[in-house]
Symmetry: C2
């Protein structure tokens, strides 16, 4: 199969969180078209099993293929943890997740070799960050902590709220006791809590937001494969948004966090794919 | 179609919450067999659209029909709000939800005609409690308040936690300002927060837990239809539990809240129905 360099990049997440990754791709690869899918009918993925997340990811990829994407970014940590290695084997397209890039930056950043990771239950219990970090530097010790209330707090919009801060203090206390000097935001919702998390952990702890690193990794990959867009056709149809439910609610949220007016979001029946 | 009085009752919910309803059926109708389905792969329903919840409810009913149930209890407020009236038209089986019974008790309980309702966004925005209460007593004023963090707080197990109390105070403040004297727990998870909510609203406010009333309504319905079980075969196979994901996690939770040892829970692929 010959891929078209002017084709869009597919980006997917369980819901809205992956927009923090799409945003970095828009900023860093402004010539690329993007087709985004948010699985808002079946969000969240973080409390689901590997089998279920893998099945959902395969359905989404079949949908993205109907949009003729040239590459796929799995902009969801849980799907990256549970499904990426399987679907990479099954696909002819280049496909990347958000975990590897974050692990690489964390390994480069830590001075005391103590790295914390926060994410959903699924992501943390998978142990995938630890495997990547250990493969990069055996001396690194990884401390993981699931933070299941962060996603609903973000969706409630309590981004700078004392309650959110109290919950963050409780979740992060044990990582601070372990004296981590680097903390991976291992869920694409968490960059929206970035300033609150930084306040709780203090200025000495470096936060790693894998969204930015993933955009750079995508650039490198497209360049290697000779798939970087020239920008042709980009102005007419830069970004398309699809969801499995509540298109208007998604559109409003996307509009609020993207540096661009989101005019339309289309709902599709993902279970048919 | 002739229904078998010894057949089981089907009970479904988006996840674990409906177990508070199943528990009341076990207590109040001990001769009945129960087939419970929890849609743990697609939980929560409260933030999803009417179309999606209706589609999911139809799939679950098709599954319960394969288990030859004689009646169905929609033990989920969001599904009761969005899907009950539609599926009642489509089915030959007796089918009840959790909203009508709760509304009836609240109408009988309130003295000052001011009733509060708490639930998911979907349930509250549907306005269904208000319609039922107004049909029972036009003078009643209904104040609804969505409490989207309560479900994840229950699932985190923070049932008597200061953080949960702080969040409850914030959510319930405006209902207290309206001077409601009766509060419907309009989500099947909320009875697990009952003592905390009672503490926050004070002893003057009566809490209505529709689970108990729904069990009594089921008893009346089965009796009218001559479908009350004699108890034959009940001892050998009283209760069956099915879920769409994470069967073992569900089993442990069910075991902790039911007055009975839950030995087995089976995972099925609900999207096939």
């Amino acid at each position: 199969m010959r891929l078209d360099r002017e084709a869009p990049v597919g980006v997917f997440d369980s819901g809205i969180g992956g927009l923090t990754v799409a945003r970095e791709i828009m900023r860093n690869l402004p010539s690329e078209k993007i087709v985004y899918f948010g699985d808002t009918a079946r969000v969240p993925y973080g409390s689901k099993s590997k089998d279920t997340v893998l099945r959902y990811s395969r359905q989404i990829i079949r949908f993205l293929e109907t949009e003729n994407v040239k590459a796929i970014v799995v902009a969801c940590n849980t799907a990256s943890a549970f499904a990426l290695s399987e679907i990479q084997k099954e696909m002819n397209l280049p496909i990347i997740g958000v975990i590897e890039a974050g692990a690489r930056v964390a390994a480069e950043t830590t001075m005391n070799k103590k790295v914390g990771v926060i994410g959903t239950e699924g992501t943390i219990h998978s142990g995938i960050h630890e495997r990547w970090l250990k493969s990069l530097d055996q001396e690194i010790t990884v401390y993981g902590k699931p933070c299941p209330l962060f996603v609903p707090l973000v969706e409630e919009g309590w981004l700078k709220d004392p309650v959110t801060e109290e919950i963050a203090e409780r979740y992060l206390r044990e990582l601070l006791e372990k004296e981590v000097d680097t903390l991976i935001l291992g869920c694409t919702h968490y960059p929206l809590l970035r300033s609150l998390i930084q306040k709780v952990v203090g200025p000495e702890v470096k936060l790693v937001n894998p969204a930015y690193e993933t955009a750079l990794e995508l650039k490198k990959l497209l360049s290697q494969e000779n798939l970087l867009s020239t920008g042709r056709g980009q102005e007419e149809f830069p970004y398309r948004f699809y969801v499995s439910d509540l298109a208007e609610k998604f559109r409003k949220f996307a509009d609020s966090i993207l540096p661009y007016d989101v005019e339309k979001t289309k709902k599709i029946d993902i279970e048919k794919y």
